[in-house]
Amino acid sequence: MNYSWNWSILIQPPYLGWLASGLELTLVISISAWILALIAGTLVGVVGTLPHRIPRMLAATYVDMFRNIPLLLQLFLWFFVVPELLPSRWGFWLKRDLPFPELWTSMLALGLFTSARVAVQVGSGITAVSSGQRMAAVASGMSPAQTYRLVLLPQAFRIVLPPLTSDFLTVFKNSALALTIGVFELTAQSRQIESFTFQGFEAFTAATIVYLVIALLVTFFMRTLERRVALPDTMGAAS
């Protein structure tokens, strides 16, 4: 192997700045996509457990749509196709006036893609809460909305926290796909450093280490959260 090492490249300007701004974009996209995924996924997950057949079918269709199309293609659909299919004034605004369209698109696409996974988890969490709880809530005079908000969801979330951790980790990894529509997040920046300096080993190592640290931090954060919110009698009752 014939390679001239130069690790100092990573702390030289402008490359250190590139990595930092890449990390910033990775975090911004991932965290906002995750928030969107939690909100939309919880809604769809709840709809999927309603007693009526039609909302359940709608929720299942939503999940299938987002799960069976590659994220990369979904990104392209949101970026290239949707603005053309909208009424022309909206499409025009999206294409001309919206600042950072590629950033907003990657948040939206990644968030909705992830929401399908969250919906499946939340749905299975709600199903895992014993049916007596639902009946007791109804018998106490709670409305369906109250039943979900006060009884089912608080327990369901605790049950599905461990699997949600892995979905949360996946968001950070998937955010790398934003580079295909021109967002210079972490992976794109390391690739750019490689093509500018030919120090690919150093550049990719830096990105790899940052992703590993993110994974460790997220895992640690979620474990702490799990321990803080665990109900004594449901410990280890997940899945």
Binding site: M1, L73, E84, A176, T187, E194, G200, F201, Y211, L212
Partner: protein, 219 residues
């Protein structure tokens, strides 16, 4: 927005099918290689050799913590350097996918192997079987039943992930679709068609996985 013209798909169909063939090829090779390597990793990880088991765990967790796009870039850069000669994008991508998938299949195998009760091992040892005989004749046949649906689900994910070779311009289905979309300036038609194709293929895969798991549930 001018009228839609799906004729573009018909004209580009041979080109798109070639891309689809590459997507299937990549999926098959990555799955085969990933399953073999993943089984090895899982067995090592569950073995008594502490040091090896830690190494295997590090391999699996390392690959699972970084984006596939970065892995593809890594090997696109690393393989020519390690071999000292230039290699095709396809070769580097095949290596990247096999090593990456091995980490994911190894987790499926690990869960599958652990789902077999220890009594089975003990009974096999008591009958005089060795470690690898027990694995091959007693544990794996049972574990495989539990794992097959998960392995198919993973294959569906893998099939979608092959679209990422777009980042190094390898002409799989996704890349071919984007070439057609831009060449003929028919982004809407081409991407919608590509979405439909992926959706149908992945839905079939997902449906067969859930049918299998429903049939084998009470095993």
């Amino acid at each position: 927005m001018t009228g839609l013209d799906f004729g573009v798909i018909q004209r580009a169909l041979p080109f798109l099918l070639e891309g689809l063939a590459l997507s299937f090829f990549l999926t098959a090779v990555a799955m085969l290689g990933g399953v073999i390597l993943g089984l090895g990793l899982a067995v090592i990880r569950l073995s008594r050799w502490k040091a090896l088991s830690i190494l295997a765990a590090g391999y699996v967790n390392g690959f699972r913590a970084i984006p596939l796009v970065l892995v593809i870039f890594w090997f696109y850069f690393l393989v020519p350097l390690a071999l000292g000669r230039s290699v095709s994008a396809l070769q580097s991508v095949v290596i990247a996918f096999v090593l990456f998938e091995a980490a994911y299949y190894s987790e499926i195998f690990r869960a599958g192997l652990q789902s077999i009760r220890p009594g089975q091992w003990q009974a096999a040892y008591a009958c005089g079987l060795g470690y690898f005989q027990t694995l091959r004749l007693v544990v794996l046949p049972q574990a495989l039943r539990n794992m097959l649906p998960l392995m198919i689900t993973q294959a569906v994910v893998l099939f979608q992930d092959t679209s990422l070779v777009y980042v190094i311009s390898l002409r799989d289905f996704m890349t071919s679709a984007s070439i057609v979309a831009n060449r003929d300036n028919r982004l809407i038609e081409t991407y919608l068609f590509a979405a439909l194709v992926y959706f149908v293929i992945c839905s079939i895969g997902a449906a067969s996985a859930s049918r299998l798991s429903a049939r084998w549930r009470p095993a």
